[in-house]
Structure formats: C-alpha cells, structure tokens
Symmetry: C2
Subunit: 411 residues, 2 copies
C-alpha cells in the first residue's frame, strides 16, 4: 500500500466539486459539496447511533437500502436536524436536485448535512445553485479539495487520504475525506466521511470492510463525549480500476480491508487532532486486558475524561486521573496490577507500576507531555498471555478554546 494524492478523486471515474450557495449566511465559505461517479456504485454506509437523527440520515438510510449509490450531495452550515417534516422534505429535495442534474434516480443519491441543529434548512439557496454545483465537478485533486472545503464547519485542518494497492496485479485506489471537530465521540461524531474506491467489490463485502474499519477508527475516537445527530461514513465502489472483482474471504479482500482500515484510522487520527480547540493528539492504548472489548472500554474512558484531557493540555503527568477514569469505566481490571507510561517524540516515562507511584522526573514528564502528539500506554497485566486484549483510542486535550468555540457557536 502506498499513499498517493487526489483524495476522493484518486480512484478512477470519480469527480468532486464544491461551491458557496448561501447556507452559510455569515461568510462566503464553500457550503455545498458533490461527489459523483461516472458509473453507479456498490455502496455501504454507517450512521449515528443517536436516537435523534437528522433528516439527511433518515433519507440516506432509505436510499442505501438498495446497496447502490451514484452520488453524494452534502451541505455544511446547517445540520437539518430537529426540523420536522419540512426538514425531511428538504433532504429529499437535495437528492432530487442532484439526481436531476445527471438524470439518475434520487434513490441513488446520498444526502449529508452538518452545522447548527434546529434551524430550518434554506433549501432555496441549494435549489438556486445546483447547476453551479454540477458545473464545479472535476476529476482531479482540485475537485476533491473544493468538496472537502465545502463540508467543513469549525474544522481547522483538512482531513483527507488516498492510497493505492494492487489487486491481482492491477492498481486499485481508495480515497477519502472527513469533516468534524466538535460533538465527536465513539459511535460516530458530527463526522462526515466520504470514501471512494475504484475496486470492484460486491456490496456485502464493502459493507463488511467498512463496518470493521469504522469500529477500529471512528468508533474509537473521542473529542467531547457528545455523539452527533448527523454522523455518517459512506463508501462508493465503482469498479473502474479494471481489477477483477474481490471475492469473499480471498487474499484480495484482506488487502482491500486492511487498506480501508488504514485510510479510516488516518482520518480518525486527523479528526482527533483537530478536535475543537485541541492543541494535542492523545493516543490511549490499553493492553493486557481480558479481551479487546474490555481494553476498548478502558481506553475510551481515559480518552474521554475531562480531567485527563485537561491534564494533557497542562502537560501534567497526573496519572491518578488515568486510573480513576479506568475505575469508573465499568470494565473489569485490577488497579493493583496496572502500569501507566507516557510517551512522545521527546521520550518515554513510567509513572505507575502495579497501581502505585513510581519515582519519576517531573521535568522529563513535562517535556514528554508538551509534544503535539502524546501517548498514554496502559498495561492492565491481567496475566493470561493467551487473551491479550488490546485497543487503541484517539482523543485530544481540553483547552480554553474548546470552551470558547462552544460557548457561542450559533452567533
């Protein structure tokens, strides 16, 4: 697998574009994006677990039922959530507008929205600009970049990926973009993730690989413990690479699934690093647990703890908060056997062994925790080497700016 450029336009046969249509009323930043495949695609998607679902989620869940998609239309600046029947009609209208441009079925269009909740979507702005949106489509990196810009809200960095693998000797590409920085928590965030591939892969395998990749990436991500109403991750596979179709449980499936997982992990790490107000990417790894689920629960509790996050911001080696968070996670472990280390480019330091303090240099710890990417490494030593449950979760620090951004988001 090698990294390449191009984002969602890296795979053959995909185009993307983005414009400003006016949903973002206070700026002229791009707010309407389109991703389009020349051929209809096998498609799979994962959605928010929130009981309150945006209109776009409801509509796209209906459309994905057939396992096919031709295009994705997405707006930023308005979540179209808690907007009732009118909101649902607007989401359907978005699919129709895109479909009409290409003479395809509205049911082959996915709809996504992100932004403020509970404000009616100004659908007229989208209606008026649909032609310009279709005209903005390009099959190169600039098309990808315009679409990516158009789905960003409080994001400060672009989250994108593209890789190339070989399937039976034929180059196959996967590209992706993601947005999201607040309201991010396991089980999907105000996170939109659009992935494309020119692999030929049946819908069932596409869904299987996306489900696994999501579980190991976006669902192991925590910025602020809030799970959004609008999250979705979609993948479109158009088969345009010319590579043979990927068969179930084949070596080729393994190659594809591993590449997709790597793409999603890269995007998840980028989402965590760009958490609202974040200054640091915090990676928490738990090993030695009874099983993977236990390790994940423990790691998530640590990554989501406001006190741990604030300590990371302050570069304070306050490992007691790490154990404390594990203690209330509900997962089983023995605090008396647990060890904690902090690691970054500046070095590595053990701060707790067998649940008790280890003498360490506060100065060294400060240096390690002052880096932009820090790791909290936890070994719960449950002892049975045969069942070494391990999981890695990504989060970020809690900062003044998080409070500032979220104290007055709407105005």
């Amino acid at each position: 697998m090698k990294e390449i450029s191009g984002g969602v336009c890296a795979p053959k046969g995909f185009m993307a574009g983005g414009i400003w249509c006016g949903v973002k009323a206070n700026s002229q930043k791009r707010d309407l994006a389109l991703i389009y495949s020349e051929k209809n695609c096998a498609a799979a998607a994962m959605f928010t677990a929130n009981r309150v679902k945006a209109a776009s989620i409801i509509v796209t869940q209906e459309h994905i039922g057939r396992g096919k998609l031709h295009a994705i239309i997405a707006n930023s600046g308005n979540a179209n959530a808690c907007t009732g029947e009118a909101g649902l009609a607007s989401a359907r209208r978005m699919a129709e507008l895109a479909a009409d441009e290409f003479a395809i079925s509205p049911r082959d269009v996915a709809v996504a929205s992100t932004g403020v909740i509970g404000v009616p979507l100004p659908i007229a702005a989208i209606e008026n600009s649909i032609g310009a949106l279709a005209n903005s489509l390009r099959g190169d990196e600039a098309g990808h970049a315009a679409a990516l810009e158009a789905i960003m809200t409080t994001d400060t960095r672009k989250k994108e990926v593209s890789v190339e693998i070989e399937i039976n000797g034929v180059p196959v590409r996967i590209g992706g973009m993601a947005k999201g920085s607040g309201m991010i928590h396991p089980n999907m965030a105000t996170m939109l993730c659009f992935l494309t591939t020119d692999a030929a892969i049946p819908r069932e395998l596409l869904e299987k690989s996306l489900r696994r990749a999501t579980a190991l990436s976006f669902n192991r991500l925590s910025v602020d413990g809030d799970t959004s109403t609008n999250d979705m991750a979609i993948i479109l596979a158009n088969g345009a690479s010319g590579a043979p179709a990927i068969a179930e449980e084949s070596a080729e499936y393994g190659i594809f699934a591993a590449a997709l997982e790597a793409c999603c992990v890269k995007l998840a790490r980028a989402l965590a690093r760009d958490g609202e107000g974040a200054t640091k990417l915090v990676t928490v790894t738990v090993c030695g647990a009874h099983d993977e689920q236990t390790a994940e629960t423990l790691a998530k509790a640590v990554a989501a703890s406001s006190l741990v996050k604030a300590a990371c911001f302050g570069a304070d080696a306050n490992w007691g908060r790490v154990l404390c968070a594990m203690g209330y996670s509900g997962a089983e472990f023995d605090p008396g056997l647990t060890g904690v280390r902090f690691r970054s480019l500046a070095g590595e330091i053990a701060v707790c062994k067998s649940g008790q303090p280890v003498g360490f240099s506060e100065e060294d710890a400060k240096k390690i925790l002052s880096e932009e990417e820090i790791e909290i490494l936890i070994d719960v030593n449950s002892g049975d080497a045969a069942v070494d449950g391990t999981a890695t979760v990504w989060g970020c620090d809690l900062t003044y700016d998080y409070v500032k951004i979220n104290g007055d988001y709407r105005t």
Copy 2:
C-alpha cells in the same frame, strides 16, 4: 422543618474541629478535620462506585460494617489513593490515632481523604498533630466551620446545612457539611459529605433514608463526568435529642427521611454551583418520561454534555444540543414529541415544541441564560399520564477556569 445554624454541631452531643497539620505542604490552610459524638452512634454510609478505591474507602467500609461510629477523621490535600499497602496502613493509622485520643475502638472511627491521587500520605504530619486536633473540638458553629474548612480543596464556597424537625413533639436536628468541586459525577464525586443527627433511629432505617436521599441528590449531580476514587457520605445518629426512637414506616420516619433528603439536595445544589470554574448552577428537569429511571438518564445526559455546559456558559440557547444529548443517552423517548424550555429569575422561554424549533427572542433567551441559576425544563410527553416519570439533576457550566484549574492541579 426549619433551617437553623450550627452545621454538624447543630444536633446535640456533637463536636467538631479542624487544624492545619501540614498535609497541604504549600499553604497553611486547614487540612485535618474531626467530628466526634459524645455517645457512640448508629451510622450509615454510601461509597464511590469507582473500581479504584482510596485506602480511606476500604478502611471505612470495614468499620461501618458494624453499623456504629463514634468519630470521623478526615484530611484534605492528599487522596491516599493508588498508594498500595503503605496507604492502607496510613488510613488504619488515622483511625487508631483518633481512637486513642478518646479511648474508643478504632473500628468506631471513619476515615476520609481528599486531594491528589498517587502520592504517599505524609502520615507523620497527622501523628504529630492528633493532640492539637482533639483539642480543637468545639460543640458550636465555630467547631463546624473549622472542620468544614479542613476538608476543602479547590472548593470556593462552603457547603453546609442544618435543619430542625419535630419527632413526637421533641425537636430533632440534622446537620451536614460537604466538600467537592471537581471530579463530580453521578454515583458520587470527590465528594465528602458528613451528616450528624441527634435523632434516635436504628441503623437499618438510617441506612435506608441515606440511600434514598443520596439517590435523589448526590447521585443526580454532575460537574465533569469523572467519578472519584474517594467519595463517601456518612451519617451519624446519636439519639441525644431525647425524642423517641423512630420506628419503621412510621410517620416520624417519613418526616426524618424527608428532612434528610432536603439536607442532601441543598448540599448537592451547592456542590454543583461550586463546580470547578463554574459560573452557573444548571438544573435539568425531565418530565413525562415512561418512568423515573428514564427521566433521570435523560436529564443526566443533558447535564453532563460538554456542549450543553459550554452553551450555558455562553448564555447560548442552543437547544439542539439538549435534544442531541438526550438522543445518545440510550434512554427511550420520542424526539418528535419533546418540548424544551429555559427558565431563570429573568423569565421563561419555550425554544422547542414537538422536537421542532419555536420562534423565540434571542435577546430574551440570552437574558434568561445569563442568570446565575438556570433551569432546562424538558417534557418528553410520552403521553401516559399515569406513568409520569420525572427527575431533576444538577450541574454547572463549562468554563475557561475549569480547564485552567485542571490543567495544572498538582503544581
């Protein structure tokens, strides 16, 4: 029931005191407290649900097993948690030291600690000052105040209560103090709560009334989602009022239990209001749910949401975040039937009806949310009037100061 003064010394036969012994090494603020009853007491206690338990929790859980206590010794400045066998020995030593002063059994002494985790407790400081601590005991409000000061850490306000009721025509008093401002979350916080009463009440009823009062107060409290390793609420009943013993299911039991609940709710509200960095008390009430548990789960998710808390700080009527938090709580409700109102001394405003936006004046909303005490009122309208599940939860806003306080707590 009437409010009186005196705190834990308001009930007859109780004394309290507090001194500085040096556990708080960087200041000369009081750090060692004692509460003592002239007679041995019926006693009950509730403890943290955290799997990582401080040494004081382990020791006090052992001691309370007999349902009797004579005294409580507590230190601030060091949590004596994650400190292994040495920590456990120190906690036992604290009980012994207090017991020796009064020639009582160490098993009749409760031990409590609060402060930084993972640092050995400097037990010598406590040993050297135990005589001075015993000498500081007083049966009046000054004794209560000294003890209360000695259990405070980042607290900025005193949390105290004392009330008088009548049992069969005889005045009976309940007094209490609490500390805690960070690491506060349902299922107990770094919260210490010491309650005294001169009621004559058997241990079983005392425990029953404390369990219920705790469930409706401290367990409905959220500051930062972190559940501490050290939390406990203890009540001592010495019978010194001279009132007849309270019998099971009697009217007198009802009066006592209601008064105890009122005391705990007052302390819980004070704890929320003094949440680390908090500028506002946020009260969340959910009604119309299928049952009380559902209402509580929904209300807790709202009170604990970082996004809702940041919006309260910014006086931003962002009700979409309220619905969003309810949506990921896991509790059952229909977003399409849900109404949300904001209320404070400045007025009341409906912002959402049937899950959809209601036109409202942003200016009015800002005024309402700028008060020091604000209420979020949620009616999920599940419709069956016969099962109107209602619950109230207390929290606070998320501010710059929370991040500041917790970014560098140890230094």
